[in-house]
Assembly symmetry: C2
C-alpha cells in the first residue's frame, strides 16, 4: 500500500502536523496537510502545508524565506498525525531560527500562569521586516 494511503485522513482530507526543530527538539509550529501537501513535502524535502484559511498549498517560507528543511517524516500509532523533524532556515544564513509569523522562534510562546496566558518568548525580528 502506498505510504500516503495508510494515513487516516480526516473528514476534510487533512492530517494535523507538528514541526519539531531537529537540532533543539523545540516544537516550532502546528499546521495541517492534505495528501498533495505531504507528497510535495517528501518530494521537495521542505515543509509544504495546506493552508485552511487560504485553501491552497502553502510552501512554508514562500513569502518570509523561513523555509523548513525536512529531515524526517514520522507518523504515530494511529496513523493520523504527522511529525516533521526540520531545520528552520532564515531569510539570510545568519538569521536566528524563526518559525512564527510574529517573529518568534516558536509559535508556542504563550504560557498559562494562574488563569492567564503570558508571552514568554522574545520577538527576534519585526514581522514587518519579515513580510515586506
Amino acid at each position: 500500500m502506498n505510504w500516503l494511503d495508510s494515513l487516516r485522513w480526516d473528514r476534510d482530507g487533512l492530517v494535523p502536523v507538528i514541526a519539531q526543530e531537529q537540532e533543539s527538539g523545540d516544537v516550532l509550529m502546528f499546521a495541517w496537510m492534505n495528501r498533495d501537501a505531504l507528497a510535495e513535502t517528501a518530494r521537495r524535502g521542505e515543509a509544504v502545508y495546506w493552508s485552511r484559511s487560504r485553501q491552497r498549498l502553502w510552501h512554508k517560507g514562500e513569502e518570509s524565506g523561513h523555509v523548513q528543511k525536512v529531515h524526517e517524516i514520522r507518523t504515530d500509532c494511529d496513523n493520523d498525525v504527522v511529525l516533521l523533524k526540520v531545520t528552520q532556515q532564515g531569510h539570510e544564513p545568519a538569521e536566528p531560527s524563526i518559525a512564527c509569523h510574529t517573529g518568534r522562534h516558536s509559535c508556542f510562546f504563550q504560557r498559562h500562569e494562574n488563569g492567564e496566558w503570558h508571552s514568554v518568548e522574545p520577538v527576534l525580528k519585526d514581522p514587518e521586516a519579515i513580510y515586506r
Copy 2:
C-alpha cells in the same frame, strides 16, 4: 477574559494537544481536549484528554498507570493548539518513559523511508502487561 475562553475551540469544541517530554524534548503523543479536559488538566497538574473514540474525559494513565505530570501549558500564536510539557510517569518508579499504548516511548515511532513507513523505536514493555 478567562484563559479558556481565549482559546479557539473547533467546531466540535476541541483543540489539538501535543505532549512533549520536559526532560528530553521528545514529542510523546498527540490528542484532543475539550474545555473540561483542559480545566481538569490545569486543576490536577496531570494530563486529562478528551477521548474522541469513547466520547469521555480520559485521565491519561487511568488504566496503564502512565500518568503525565504537567509542567507547562502553552498555546500558539493562533490560540488554537495546546502544547503540554510533561514528565511521563511509569506504572512503577523504575519503569522507562512509555507514553504509547504499544509500549513504546513515543507514539511517533513510524518513519517514512522511500515510500514506506518503518517502525524505528523499540517496544519497551509488552502492551498486555500494561493493560492487564
